[in-house]
Amino acid sequence: MKISVNWLKEYIPVDHTVEEMANKISLTGIESGPVKLGEELTNLVVGHITSIKSHPDSDHLKVCQVDVGESEDIQIVCGAPNVAVDQYVIVALHGAHLPNGVRIKRGKLRGQESNGMICGLDEVGVPAKYMPEEFENGIYVFDQPQKPGVEVYDLLGLKEQMIDIDITPNRADTLGMHGAAWEIGATYNEKPTFKKPELDDSKVKDLTDIDVTVDAKDLVPDYLVRELKDIKVTKSPLWMQRRLWNQNIRPVNSVVDATNYVMIEYGQPVQAYDLDKLNQSLTVKLANAGDKLNLADDVEKTLTANDLVVTSGDKILGLAGIINGPEATVDENTKNVVLEAGVFDGASVRKTAQRHDLRDDASNRFEKGVDNGIVEEALTRATQLVDQISPAQEISQTIVGNFTKAEPTVIKGSIDHINHLMGLDLSADEIVGIFDRLGFTSELNGDAVTVTIPTRRWDMGIEADLVEEVNRIYGYENLPNTLPAGMETRGGYSAKRELSNKLRDILLGEGMDEVINFSLLSKQEVADFNVNQTEYTKLLHPMTEDHEYLRNSLIPGLVRNVAYNQARKNNDLSIFEQARVFARPTGQDRPNEIPYISGAISGNVVEDSWNTEPKQVDFYYVKGIVEELLSFTNADADFTFVATDEYTNMHPGQTAKILANDQVVGFIGKLHPDYQKKHSITDTFVFELNINALFGLNTKSVKAQSAPKYPAITRDLAILVNKDIQNSQIINDIFVNGGKYLQDVNIFDVYEGKNIKQDHKSLGYHLVFLNPNDTLTDEEVEKAFSLVKDSLVQKFNVEIR
């Protein structure tokens, strides 16, 4: 809401710039910004049209003589359809600046001299949608004679200075000028003064033209109306109109404007009805499901049984506190009116307004709360204003549909505790002084303070609220900087997070860039890598099909990244992600959240450069990274790679499950060519590892051993073997037969093709023998080596070469 400084001055003295005020209000209470309307405007004065002649060369232009307070009238050519003699109008003189950089200069219009422009309100900065409808297609005409030559800015509020406050939901008390005056007053230590509205007692009668009933009393704690009889609806006065259009409210007529004016003044929405269009009754109740409400412009809303409506007989007039249809609108023909001020349940208003997409100024106030203590006063004020502009013959007493007496809130606090929570040491007097600035009354009894909060601050309820009030008015800038002074604590990560960090560091060291992807995937993506065969977890109300399911693997995200990068010619990619996947066991609502670490590599792993030959990623490169990762888990486990063709989107001949002590902890392999094609990516190798599973393994306890003092002896073994035999089978068998001094077996050659028997391959191994305690003899080694060879021949039918 925008707080007009001129309006504010009715309540408190103001002697600061809006910039200073906005800054101070932001620091002590509510985020605010300065607003200065019409800063650019110049040379705009009242003109009085003394005569009009038609333009000799134009059908629609008129040549006007205008008194602008100078010794002679000036001639202005005007094309507005509503221009007429004896009007008081806005004249932009030669040299005038208008909004959007428009400048007025004297000149000739179709040969006729024109020394300025007669303006519409929208041409001088009032938005077209907030100016009175009658001037929409023409110039603005003052209701009352004005002094020619006088500047128009104050008359029309064109250079209004305002403070735009952006409230948090708890501070709706400042959505009215009175509440804002209290808040700004407390900031500057100024108590606001307000005039109580009064009615002409002689007009007030016991009128009973209307029955008022509230059915849903729990949702409508207050519902008050007054009748005004035999009024003449007119335009509202300019002072009221200009305040309304500067609040972005279009002036309509004396009654509607008065209700809107009171909403701005008190923060209490007020509604007006044409008494003669009602069936002698007003009822507030819940709608029947399927009821229709017709709004202006042929909009029809279908209501639910949770919508609170105002009805008269069988007519539904509107949604309580939100919007009314045209049924009982007050217009220029209205003779008798009913003014209504009520309090409607915030949650109910909020839901109804949301449901029907009808949030507005009134519903916003009910949603956030209004002051139950001023409902009757606001109604009286609206009645007074209507009677002042459109005098009534008779006015009713307040007719009560429901009324709840508003009680002030009493909060008990301790000066010491309040100081403790702030980290300050203010005296009781200082604290009580701040309460007084806010208009709270307080009673001190030793350390105990009892604070009575007026109903306008319904956000206040507990001692912590007092702490906030004292602290902000005292000034947060005056708080010292301290650190919590309690017992020492030891900070750090959890052990599992430490493991994750370590694994991430390894992959960074392997040259892999870390990525972060979205957890929400498409249906296709969760189907693509459901390798653990868990249930999908779906959002109730997804925003897009792209983000509908919780991910069950990190690989679809990595594939998105590979595709995105390759499309931008970043072809050599090595990326990884450490994040959670969501695996939902059957029969469980909540998915388990499991940390994984996954990677994807495509393109060259050695670049094509002046001194290196390019090398494409292959299975064994990625396997090397994974083995390095596994070795850094410090797990006392036997890690093995077992070929698998079970995973639909993985290459059936280049994929392996990763096992730790025979339990699957992840997999590694090449993406299936079809899948790669679908995602327009080149050959890509991926892996994933379940960090929970790795974390669960026993850790190694390392006992230091000296490096061996005796030399190792190596033997080379070359064999010809059937193609289907896997390296791991050979190596396992070598270890089984190699004896206790066999230290290591390394494969140094794999060859198939030319000069090799059909369906066979040639393998070469280095066998390393070492006795840490003594020198090995050739005989010992030879004996073990023979056993190895014999077994291979026997088990795998190998040829020793």
Partner: protein, 348 residues
């Protein structure tokens, strides 16, 4: 010719030959030829028997000197030739050091994780534990326990992805507060915790919104925690992250789970407070929200608000990183273009 003269001739010729030598081999040959057992000096000394006995010592000394001098000349020349050889070799081995390196690549940690870990390290140093929490959370912890009952208007401020009536994608890492407080044994000292992680909102993705982003929640509960403690802690954090000359200020705000609640601004690190485009000409940049834990939140976790108080703060790593590195589009964090990622190599 006297023996004396013969030796002197040999010396002259020997030194001369050594000086003329071009290759090491010539010098080696020269040494063997002149100084060896079959060399002319040895041969000449056989004539010693014809020399009168009293002259023999003199001749002997001369012969030794001749040998020494030739030897010295050979060695000098050898060293000279050696130096030339080394110099030649070094010259041949000279390379163009401006040619590009053989690539040794370390990967780049994602800039969000760098930002998060920088903040984690700061708080670990102050004795905070780093907690994880659940990304799929109960309505109970995400809202109810934070003083946000079902009809609370604050639920509008954050549209939520629900999985069922009771389960949702957490909208804030504050959801961890209730769990942290329940689990903590206050007889062992204060609760000091930060909870970094991913949160989710039903927002359309655009330059400033993302349906998934990160938060770091901080929570301290102890006897006598005050607003001044909160201000001192966040002041130190902002200096750590944005530079030692930064200041912070508190502005009143509203969160259902803190009272008082504040927004925290840091003085603009771009203009130093004079006003620029980044700080929207205010000299200040809003960086996080904070406050004292609402007494209801403490009570719901079984903590007596008359005995204990708490402070809580929540900050956005995306916002921190965007401010610090001038990133204009939040979507860049999640597109993972490696050219974007790699520019942050080693910044933290």
């Amino acid at each position: 010719m006297s023996l004396n003269d013969t030796l002197k001739n040999l010396r002259e010729n020997g030194i001369d030959e050594a000086k003329r030598a071009q290759r090491l081999q010539e010098l080696n040959d020269l040494r063997v030829n002149l100084l060896g057992k079959k060399g002319p000096i040895t041969k000449a000394l056989r004539g010693m028997k014809d020399v009168p006995a009293e002259q023999r010592p003199e001749i002997g000394t001369l012969a030794n000197n001749v040998k020494k001098d030739i030897q010295a000349a050979i060695e000098e020349k050898m060293s000279e030739l050696n130096q030339k050889l080394v110099a030649k070799k070094l010259e041949e081995e000279t390379i163009d050091v401006t040619l590009p390196a053989t690539k040794q690549t370390q990967g780049t940690k994602h800039i969000l994780n760098q930002t998060i870990e920088d903040i984690e390290q700061f708080f670990i140093g102050l004795g905070y534990e780093v907690a994880g929490g659940y990304e799929v959370e109960e309505d109970h912890y995400n809202f109810e326990r934070l003083n946000i009952p079902k009809d609370h208007p604050a639920r509008d401020m954050q549209d939520t992805f629900y999985l069922s009536d009771e389960l949702l994608m957490r909208t804030q890492t504050s959801a961890q507060e209730g769990r942290d407080m329940e689990a903590h044994d206050f007889t062992k000292g204060p609760l000091k915790m930060i909870s970094p992680g991913v949160v989710y909102r039903r927002d359309d993705d655009d330059a400033t919104h993302s349906h998934q982003f990160h938060q770091i929640e901080g929570l301290v509960v102890d006897k006598n925690i005050s607003m001044a403690d909160l201000k001192g802690t966040l002041d130190a954090l902002c200096r750590h992250v944005f530079g030692p000359d930064r200041e912070i200020r508190f502005r009143p705000s509203y969160f259902p789970f803190t009272e008082p609640s504040v927004e925290v601004d840091v003085s603009c690190f771009n203009c130093g407070g004079e006003g620029c485009r980044i700080c929207k000409y205010t000299g200040w940049i809003e960086v996080l929200g904070a406050g004292l834990t609402h007494p209801n939140v403490l009570k719901m976790s079984g903590i007596d608000p008359n005995e204990y108080s708490g402070m809580a703060f929540g900050l956005g790593p995306e916002r921190f990183a965007m401010l610090k590195y001038g990133i204009n589009d939040i979507r860049d964090f999640y597109l993972n273009d490696v050219r974007f990622l790699e520019q942050f190599k080693g910044v933290n």
